[in-house]
Each structure stands twice: as C-alpha cells, then as structure tokens.
C-alpha cells in the first residue's frame, strides 16, 4: 500500500502492548476508574484534553468575535443543548457533564476510551451524560487492555450520528465510512490507503485540526513538511499542494474553486441517507390513543415522529455551491431574527467572487422550521429531553411548558409567544472524496444550465453570454446567409431565363 502503514499495522507496530501492562491487569467497574489507570502513565493527557474544543464545547471565533461551540450555538436539528445536557453530553469526551452552564471538571472525567477503544464495542449510553452503556461497562476490563490509536469508528461514534441518526447531520459523514470502498472515499478505502480520520485531522497535545467553525477555505500554504507546517493538516492542499493536476487549466481553478467542489460530486454517497429537512412545527401530534407515533415513507426513511416533527432525507445529494472564505456568523439565541425574510440563516457564510480568500465550496443546505419567540424575534431554547421529566417535550409534548423550562434554564428572556420560522443551515462538504473519474466534468459548471447557474458576480465561460451580442450575431450571420442564398437564387433564375430567352448566338 505504497509504503503507508495501515491502521492495523500502526497498532501492532506500537512500542507498547497495553495487554501486558500491569496496571491494566485488573477488573474495571467504571469509566473514571479506567481513566485513572491511563493517567498513571499518560500523566499529561487529561490536561491536554481539557483544553480542547472536544472537552469545552466552546469555540472563540476570532474572525467574527462570536462565542460558538455546542454550549452556545443553535442548529437546525435538535436546537440548543441547554436544558438537554445529559442527552447532548452523551457524545461528550467526558463523564457526567450534566450542566453545560458550568465548566466540566475532574481529570478522571476524561473519557479516554471513546477515542482509543480498538474493539469498536465501547458505547456511551443514551441520556447518560457521557457514561458508557451497560454492555460497555461489563466489558471495560477487556476494552481497557485493548486501547490504541483512534480509528474511524471512534470518531464515528459521535460524528457519524449527529442530528439524531446515522448520517443525519453532515451529509458527508456516516457509518458507511467505517469500511468504505474506493468509490466512496479514495483516501479511506479500507482495501487501499485506509486512512483513519486522524491521518488528515492530525493533532498535537490532543488538539485536533480542522474546524467547521472557522474553516480554512483556501490553504495558500500548500504542502506541509516539517519546518514549514502551518499547523493544519486537514486541508487537501496539506498533501496535494495548490497545483495538484497535470492539466494546467485544471490547476488554474484551484485559486477560486475548492477541491471538494469537483471531487465530491454528491454527498451521502454511501447508501446512508442524510436529513435534508426538519420541520419542528408538526411535532407533538399524537395518535388516537394519545400516544406518539412515527411514519415511514416507501424508501423506509422515517418522515414523521411525534417527538421531532417532519423530515426529509436524501441520498447521493447534489450539493449547492457558494463563495466561502471560511468565516461563518451564527444566529445565536441572543441575535434578533428578521422573520419577514424567511428562511432565516442559522449560519451565514461569508465570501464572494471579489474576495481573494473565498473559493466556491459545496454545501449541504439543511432546511428547517424552528421554534422562535414571535415577540422578541429570537430562536428559543427548547427543553426536549429528560428521563422521566414531564416538562421535556419528548415526554409531555407541550410546547408552552418545554419552552418555559428551556428558556428559564438557559436564562433566556422569553415573551411567552412562540411560532415557527423557516431556517437554512449550511454544512460545508469535505468528506467522501470520489475517484477522479467520478469528479465533475467541465460542463457540469461550464454550461448554460449547470451547477453554478445561480452563482453570480463573475464571468464563467460556457455559462455567461451577452443577450444583445447573441442577437446581433444571429442577425449578422443569418443575414449574410440569407443574403448569399438570395443572391445565388437570383443568379440561377436569371441564368436559366437568359438561356431560354435566346441570344445564344454563335
């Protein structure tokens, strides 16, 4: 495999075999117990981790000044994390974070296994604030001895299942990437390069590179090599450089067109559908017995549940294209919406044709209908989940109560009047890189009705033309044709007439 070590050989080529470690020759009854054992040798690991976005769920966007991260943003899936903490933190890299309003403490609370389990059996429990489920607890002893470098299933535990179901959220991340074919992803192909996520999303001191909150939309730094590394290995250019094609004209595109635009012709290409619409306004309908229900469409996709409302799904979805310079401005619960112009953006991206930092990027456009304060014009924190809690929407199906409880918990002002506003949320597409013969051909965009037909402000050959000149050309060439044909016809008729009319002397 081109001399690249595979994930499996990475593990066996390690200088340490954890099954032989004395500190692991014991029975473990809980996650934090395992962590204590890990920290016995990896003394600094928890300190590293507790500084990361994975731990803090907070991201200071220096470009926009916004405080983001899961603790602060609203998305067009479940909404906000506040008041739903234990359900959301089921995916946190720690144990027992039950109140997101407070920083999570305690080195023992770092969950080493969710990222370093190599058995692919370690799972976190639903609504369990990051604690492992019963099966995983029963197997902790075995799992703890088989730790190793992160693999695709580790990241996938959380990142494949965001938005409430496999593949629901991102569109380019789902569990088809655990054993992907070359067709699905040329780099992750398990019979080929077999890249783990960390091959691109490298890390130092557990700080994982590559961020959607502040994307490197154009990496002018090029190929990373020791000594000239920009600390971000998560761009295509980090390995391929800025002029990766043999064809000069294709290389001329890389300053304005993201690699992903041509090389990821569709997303959700691995047979797992992705959610494309979530309409909360229909949530809460109950059947004749007053029980919640769900509906499945002919494709087998869940299109309605009482808990969540109406959905739509897509497979092999054609992305939408936008100029993007990596700056995103989120609509936070403190921001006022303009509900006269719907859909309102949940995350507005920046960039345009005259912005040298911007390139044309592919996006999944997620459509939503979300609850908002019709008086104060803000998105609302909704209390959705809570075991046995009747005020949670998923138990009580009562908007008034769940909104009151959610906003109170989050300290958000609420007028008591709510409605539903149409929203869009943009998800940059960057995974599921197709083989080059499946990449977009020129005329996918360079045509009058191509994929970029709605992207204005720049001239693109094959797409753009001057209506006046088209008519002028038509008149000129057509007129010339008409003229010469008329001339020819007159010549022919008159020649025949001359011949018939005598005068054929001599």
């Amino acid at each position: 495999m081109g001399g690249l070590p595979t994930v499996a050989s990475d593990v066996t080529s390690s200088t340490a075999d954890h099954t032989k470690f004395k500190d692991l020759q014991r029975t473990f009854a809980s996650g934090p117990e395992v962590t204590r054992a890990c920290l016995g040798c990896h003394t600094e690991a928890a300190k590293h981790l507790m500084r990361t976005q994975h731990w803090r769920w907070e991201f200071d966007n220096k470009l926009t000044g916004q405080k983001l991260g899961k603790r602060h943003v609203v998305n067009s899936f479940c909404g906000a994390t506040a008041s739903n903490d234990s359900y959301c933190t089921a995916c946190h890299v720690g144990y027992g974070w039950k109140d997101l309003r407070k920083e999570h403490q305690g080195e023992d609370n770092v969950d080493c296994l969710i990222c370093h389990d190599t058995t692919a059996t370690y799972r976190k429990g639903e609504g369990a604030a990051g604690m492992p489920d019963a099966t995983s607890v029963a197997n902790l002893t075995e799992i703890a001895r088989k730790v190793g470098k992160t693999q695709r299933h580790n990241c996938g535990n959380c990142h494949f299942h965001g938005g409430g179901a496999n593949g629901a959220k991102h569109g380019d991340l789902d569990n088809s990437l655990i054993t992907p074919s070359f067709y699905l992803d040329v780099h992750m192909d398990d019979m080929g390069l077999n890249f783990a996520c960390s091959r691109c999303h490298g890390s130092a001191a557990h700080q994982v590179q590559g961020s959607r909150y502040a994307t490197t939309a154009r990496d002018t730094h090029g190929i990373d090599a020791p000594g000239r590394d920009d600390g971000n290995h998560a761009t295509c250019e980090s390995c391929h450089g800025a002029v990766p094609h043999q064809n000069r004209k294709l290389n001329h595109h890389t300053d304005r067109v993201a690699c992903q635009t041509c090389h990821i012709p569709e997303f959700a290409r691995g047979s797992v559908p992705t959610k494309t619409l979530w309409d909360w306004s229909t949530a809460g309908r109950l059947d004749g017995d007053g029980k919640p229900y769900s509906t499945v469409d002919p494709r087998g996709y869940e299109v309605y549940t009482s808990k969540k409302g109406t959905f739509d799904w897509g497979r092999n979805v054609t992305p939408e294209y936008r100029w993007y310079n990596g700056r995103i401005r989120y609509t936070l619960v403190t921001d006022r919406l303009d509900d006269t112009r719907q859909p309102v953006p949940i995350n507005a991206i920046e960039g345009g044709p005259s912005d040298p930092d911007a390139r044309i990027w592919p996006f999944k456009v997620m459509l939503g209908k979300q609850v908002y304060d019709t008086q104060r014009k803000t998105l609302l924190v909704n209390h959705i989940a809570g075991k046995g809690d009747p005020t949670a929407f998923w138990n009580g199906f009562d908007w008034a109560t769940s909104l009151r409880v959610g906003t109170e918990y989050a300290g958000q002002p609420f007028s008591g009047q709510w409605g539903f506003v149409e929203t869009t949320m943009l998800w940059p597409i960057t995974h599921m890189v197709a083989p080059k013969d499946k990449a977009l051909a020129c005329d996918a965009c360079h045509s009058r009705d191509g994929r970029l037909k709605d992207l204005s402000g720049f001239h693109m050959p094959g797409r753009d033309y001057n209506r006046f000149l088209e008519w002028l050309g038509f008149l000129l060439v057509g007129g010339a044709l008409f003229g010469v044909l008329g001339h020819a016809a007159a010549r022919a008729i008159l020649a025949v007439r001359r011949r018939k009319g005598g005068g054929h002397g001599a």
Partner: protein, 209 residues
C-alpha cells in the same frame, strides 16, 4: 479561350487551406465553449480550441514572414480604382451574365472589394480574436502581468465572441463569393491548383444578354 496564369504559390495555398481548416475548427469548438450548443463536450472543445489556436499562431507567424519577405502584403493595399464597378458587378452585372470588370494579374490578384475585406480580416477581425484569445488563455497570469486591474474576463470574452461572429459572417460571404467565377467552382479550383483561367472581356464565357 483565356490564358492560364499562376496566381497562388504553394505556400499561399497551404496557408489558405490550413488556415481555413483551423478557423473552422476554432469556430465550431469556440461556439460550443460559448455554450451555443453541445457537440464534443466542453473539455474536448477547449482542448481542440487551444491546440488549434497555437497551430494558427504558428501559421500566422510564417504567413506574416512570407508576406513581408515576398512583398505580398502589397496585394492588400486598398484602392479606389474600379471599386464602384466591382460593387456594381456583384449587385447587377453578375445577374446579367456580365464579365467581371477587374482583370487579375499575378501582381494585382485581389479586386478592390477583396482588398478591403481581407484587410479588415487581417487588421481588425484576426487581431481582435488573437489578442483577446491569448488574454483569455492566460487569464490566470493577469495579476502577475499587472493586467488584472485593467481587464475583466467578461469584456475580453465579449470582444472575443464579437470577433468570432464577424469572422463567421466573413466566412459565409467569402465561401459564396468563391462561386462567382466563370463557373461556380472555378475559384475553388484555382485556390487548389494555383492556376486560374483569365478571361478577357472579349472572350467572356457567357454571352451578354
């Protein structure tokens, strides 16, 4: 009967026909790149168009050299002599079977209308296309060449397409004019062989009406 004179040298004929082939190739592929129709696909069209462009540039370099060294450029110097009578011939005389008023010789083989048309082709249409075509081709070098502030692609494309439309119009008329010899194919024949039958007024091929 007329005399046979050698009007077109070997190089001239090679230049004419290879230029014709390249220009037609560039027209067909160019208008596809423009988005007017779908024939070979955008990528193939661009590849053909670019290759033909370089070939045409090479051909033009040779042709310009040939024109300068042989003095053939003088053939295109405009003249008013017989300009009106030639125009009148195409408008009236040709229908009546009148002979062409312009007598061609090796040293003045182009009639005054041809001179004007070909001069316009060489000094207006062709430069319009190759200047904008090269700019188009080297669009990505504009910033490095300091041109980015003065040019925009839409304008360059507009001028390029305008040139192409003019040449397409030229081509239609040019091909048709080729049929206006003593017989419809006589001019085509002489452009292939180099030899042309010259008819004096007295031995006109067609009797006057």
């Amino acid at each position: 009967m007329g005399r046979r004179i050698h009007l077109y040298s070997k190089f001239e004929r090679f230049w004419h026909w290879s230029q014709a082939l390249l220009i037609i190739t560039m027209g067909v592929t160019g208008f596809e790149i423009h988005g007017a129709y779908h024939l070979v696909g955008f990528k193939a069209a661009v590849d053909f168009h670019t290759t033909a462009a370089w070939a045409l540039i090479a051909l033009w370099i040779f042709a310009i050299f040939w024109h300068l060294t042989t003095g053939a450029w003088k053939q295109y110097v405009p003249t008013r002599e017989k300009l009106l009578s030639v125009a009148k011939f195409y408008a009236v005389g040709v229908f009546r079977g009148k002979p062409h008023p312009y007598e061609r010789t090796t040293h003045r083989k182009l009639n005054p209308l041809q001179r004007l048309a070909y001069l316009a082709f060489k000094l207006v249409m062709a430069p319009m296309l190759w200047i904008t075509g090269l700019l188009y081709m080297f669009y990505n070098e504009w910033p490095a060449w300091g041109l980015a502030a003065y040019l925009d692609l839409a304008t360059v494309a507009l001028v390029h397409v305008t040139g192409a439309i003019l040449i397409a119009t030229f081509l239609v008329v040019h091909v048709y004019m080729g049929t206006l010899g003593a017989t419809p194919w006589e001019h085509f024949k002489s452009m292939l062989t180099g030899w042309e039958e010259v008819h004096s007024r007295d031995d006109g091929a067609e009797p006057s009406a």
